[in-house]
């Protein structure tokens, strides 16, 4: 009498098998699996297309600028002042002015921004005061540059009495770039694992020792990224320097890297480009294009140096 029960069980197994759809063994294609594969490859092509779409305009712009600017590009173009009411000559004076502005604004904004971010991320307690500061930082980075320009005019040029000068313009640019540097640095610091800090505290390191020995060395590449982004912004903005230190035209001694003083007014590439393309009649066609490509090239050069620095620092990172 055991056999009925036994056969009963053995019958159930093929029955369960039969419940599966025809041909649904593991590696056989079903309509569903074909559909999945189709959408998988479709997704990949869509993403690829978007990426190409992103790069194409950049290459087109670069190519077009280079093509238009080619006749005028030479070392002389970089090293001579604009001449004959900016209808001839080179761009030495605005080029040097832009370098001064970018360099000085970063020299001012970087230490303040990085140290403030260290405070906010490493020391500050999570209370209403800290949250208020963070809210302010986030909102400040969204303020239009022309508003920064007015602030710079009021605070540095008029109130502090610096007058329109490279210093006032750089301070204005520094105020503009500061919130983004703070936000970027804070991001980089908070990506350093907390366990590193705790291990360091546990061997009797103070907070500052921990920051110097463990946190900053591991965050430095991220911090640099935040600063690199600001180079191009500081070089490209026209509004903040418009009221605070940039001039329409100024001739300086050609080839002299120290031609500008801190309290001089200066020319700047971004403003020069605006002037010769809209304000001055009969400018030779290639001149604005040449200026644009130099502005772009200068930014790329500074970025390249920072990226190299970052690669070197990252290769020394051992985790």
């Amino acid at each position: 009498m055991i056999s009925p029960a036994h056969t009963n069980i053995s019958r159930e197994i093929p029955a369960a098998d039969a419940a599966l759809p025809q041909g649904a063994a593991r590696f056989t294609e079903t309509p569903f699996s074909r559909k999945k594969m189709r959408s998988e490859s479709a997704a990949e092509y869509v993403f690829l297309a978007m990426t190409l779409l992103l790069v194409a305009p950049l290459l087109l712009i670069l190519g077009y600028l280079l093509y238009q600017a080619w006749p005028i590009l030479s070392l002389d173009f970089l090293l001579t002042n604009p001449k004959r009411g900016m209808r001839a000559g080179g761009i030495w004076s605005p080029l040097l002015g832009t370098f001064y502005l970018v360099f000085l604004s970063l020299v001012i904004a970087t230490p303040i921004g990085v140290l403030a971010a260290v405070y906010l991320n490493e020391y500050a307690r999570n209370n209403w005061f800290t949250r208020l500061i963070q809210l302010a930082v986030v909102n400040l980075s969204g303020v239009p540059s022309i508003v920064h320009a007015l602030f710079g005019l009021g605070a540095f040029v008029l109130f502090a009495g610096i007058g329109r000068s490279i210093l006032a313009a750089s301070l204005t640019l520094a105020i503009m770039t500061l919130p983004v540097i703070i936000a970027g640095t804070k991001e980089a610091l908070s990506s350093v694992p907390q366990s590193f800090r705790e291990a360091c505290w546990n061997v009797g390191a103070t907070r500052w020792q921990t920051i110097r020995a463990v946190v900053l060395p591991n965050a430095v590449s991220g911090i640099l990224t935040g600063i690199i982004l600001q180079v191009s912004r500081a070089a490209g903005e026209t509004a903040p320097i418009l009221f605070t230190g940039a001039v329409f035209f100024k001739a300086i001694s050609e080839g002299d890297l120290l031609a500008y003083g801190l309290f001089d007014q200066c020319m700047a590439l971004s403003m020069h480009l605006f002037t010769i393309s809209t304000q001055v009649p009969d400018v030779p066609h290639a001149l604005p294009y040449g200026t644009a490509i130099v502005l772009l090239g200068a930014v790329l050069c500074i970025n390249a140096v920072s990226i190299l620095l970052r690669i070197v620092l990252r290769s020394r990172k051992k985790w």
Binding site: R197, E198, A199, W201, N202, G204, A205, V214, K318
Partner: protein, 258 residues
Amino acid sequence: MAEEPANPSAPAVVFCGFSVWFGEKQALQDIQLSACRGQRLALIGAAGSGKSTLLRSLNRSNDMIPGYRYQGSILLDDRDIHDPRIDVAALRRRVGLVGTPAAVLPGSIFDNVALALKMAGEQSKQRIFEKVQNGLMKVQIWDRVKDRLQESAAGLTTSMILQLSLARTLVLEPEVLLLDEPGAGLDHQVVTMLEDLLEDLKETHTILMATNDLKQAARASDRTAFFQCGSLVECGPTRLLFTRPQSEMTCNFITERF
């Protein structure tokens, strides 16, 4: 921190009515507990019973956690460790914590240990090297790492990371050694090494060890304290606690009927 030598029989660490909150949640409740020099105290209890919190309170690691609040006091050689005049960094050098999972710092194997000495102000490269070597020998990985001291420590195994972080703590010559679940996920040899080392160290150190492994607690401790839900249920000589527990809860826990 040079003070008059403490009475060797007096308890080195005393918790007096010590309670801890993280935000609204109470993590430790009115703990009365003491640990003496020359004794290994094991803390047992289910996960979340407050063992780690107790250890971390003792070197003030919890200070950095937002929402941390305490009541009562902890005495280390009769001095309240929350005394505002106390140098927290010096306290942490006297009270070494090996956390879980054992932390590995970015940098080379050598730097991982040398960092502790550098932070303590040691400048002589010669002395740093000697102490690092000594520390790595104590935890018995010197032979395995001596040829790759400059390699990144990130590639080490879990066991070696624990040994490394133990070495990092020991080079500072702490008086109190806190171990948070040593042995979790480690190979047998390392656990044996660790327990032998604790046996040697107990003459000169006060050792507190939180563990999830009841066998380890039974093997490698002189006294055991059982925690449940942030309260100390029972504390006594290990052999006594494991053979004749006073409390029903302890009995349930050690017979793993939890």
